[in-house]
């Protein structure tokens, strides 16, 4: 039996075969070393929700804290996140951070805003001078399952 040295082409082909076969293994290693149970979209959605709530419930929102008509139409309905940002100019300033928009769009991220004024709760007595701001963010995860998280804040008027 005659033996010969492998040519360079054969070595490259062998390496390619091994490399391609290793891709699933590499993905397993990568995911195994990512120690968190959170996806990029969940982190982004939480960032969006808390940021919108801080802006809506903050003292500088809108003219004299008044809500624009465009914004009022969006209350208590599931709307695309970008529609909320467009509805009030004070929300859109330097927001969202670069690179976040495409990720939020990709996962059909939606916002639901609720403003209860006055906020009524049996433990709060008869006075009606408390407002509740609630922002719910929903998105489709990588398996297409809808998820959501709520941020809320009471404001003592």
């Amino acid at each position: 039996v005659s033996r010969r040295a492998l040519s360079l082409a054969e070595v490259v082909i062998a390496a390619l075969i091994v490399g391609v076969s290793a891709i699933p293994v590499l993905e397993l290693v990568r995911s195994g070393t990512s120690q968190l149970e959170v996806s990029e979209i969940e982190a982004a959605a939480r960032q969006l929700g808390s940021d919108v709530l801080e802006r809506v419930a903050g003292p500088s929102f809108g003219a004299d804290k008044g809500l624009t008509d465009a914004f009022k139409k969006l209350l208590e309905t599931d709307v695309r996140w970008s529609d909320v940002i467009k509805a009030d100019a004070s929300l859109g300033k330097e927001f969202p951070p670069e690179g976040l928009s495409s990720l939020l769009d990709l996962h059909d991220t939606r916002l639901r805003l609720k403003i209860e004024s006055p906020y009524d709760h049996p433990d709060l007595g008869p006075a009606k001078k408390l407002e509740a701001y609630t922002v719910t963010v929903s998105w489709n995860d990588r398996n297409g399952i809808k998820k959501e998280v709520t941020f809320a804040r009471l404001i003592d008027l």
Binding site: R3, R4, A5, L6, E10, V11, A14, A15, V18, G19, A22, L26, E27, V29, R30, S31, G32, T33, S34, Q35, L36, E37, V38, E40, A43, A44, R46, Q47, S50, D51, L53, E54, Y119, H121, D123, L124, G125, P126, A127, K129, L130, A132, T134, V149, T150, F151, A152, R153, L154, I155, D156, L157
Partner: protein, 192 residues
């Protein structure tokens, strides 16, 4: 001649095995680095978003407690009772309204909002001068394996009005007391 040919063949196979091993090793190290860097980046985002939920829930609980303090049912509050009896600290309010707003997180064990506590930070030297009252709440959020606990403190300015009986068996004793708390807090801070 044949012996040198076999040696050359073995050297060729050895080189190929070494090359493949080198490629696989580099790829595994790269995958490990990518995994670790993604973990690091996501850990940062998780901490920031978890911290935001802690702060928002804490601010909400403090707003609820200061509201109850300013508008007490039947004019009575635990803080007023505490101040009258000389207690410098105690439970001010159980923030059930805030917990209700965060029902999903609270019931899943991802968010804990403890009762709001009060502490008289400064008593006035003479009657009629304002008290400094601190309201504090501890909030814990657990998100993706990261646990974040912070205490939020809000300092309020309050004035205690007391009516003393002049005549009868209660002469000299306080028969009516009311605590008036200013709407705007002096400050609000997040503490470790």
């Amino acid at each position: 001649l044949r012996a040198s040919s076999i040696c050359r063949n073995r050297a060729g196979i050895g080189a190929m095995v070494a090359f493949v091993l080198w490629v696989v090793t580099i790829a595994l190290v790269y995958a490990l680095m990518v995994g670790q860097s993604q973990s690091g980046a996501l850990t940062g985002v998780v901490r920031v978003t978890g911290m935001r939920m802690v702060v928002l829930a804490g601010q909400s609980a403090l707003a609820e407690a200061s509201y109850v303090l300013r508008h007490p049912s039947n004019g009575k509050s635990t803080v007023l009772e505490g101040m009258r009896t000389g207690s410098a600290a105690g439970k001010a309010h159980d923030p059930t309204a805030t917990r209700k707003l965060y029902t999903a997180e609270v019931s899943a064990g991802r968010l804990t909002v403890e009762p709001v506590m009060y502490e008289v930070a400064k008593r006035p030297a003479k009657d009629g001068d304002p008290y400094l009252i601190d309201l504090t709440v501890r909030v814990t959020a657990v998100f993706a394996g990261v646990k974040i606990t912070r205490q939020l403190r809000r300092r309020m300015l309050g004035e205690l009005a007391q009516v003393h009986a002049l005549l009868g068996p209660s002469a000299g004793k306080v028969v009516l007391a009311a605590l008036s708390v200013h709407g705007r807090p002096l400050f609000e801070v997040v503490e470790p």
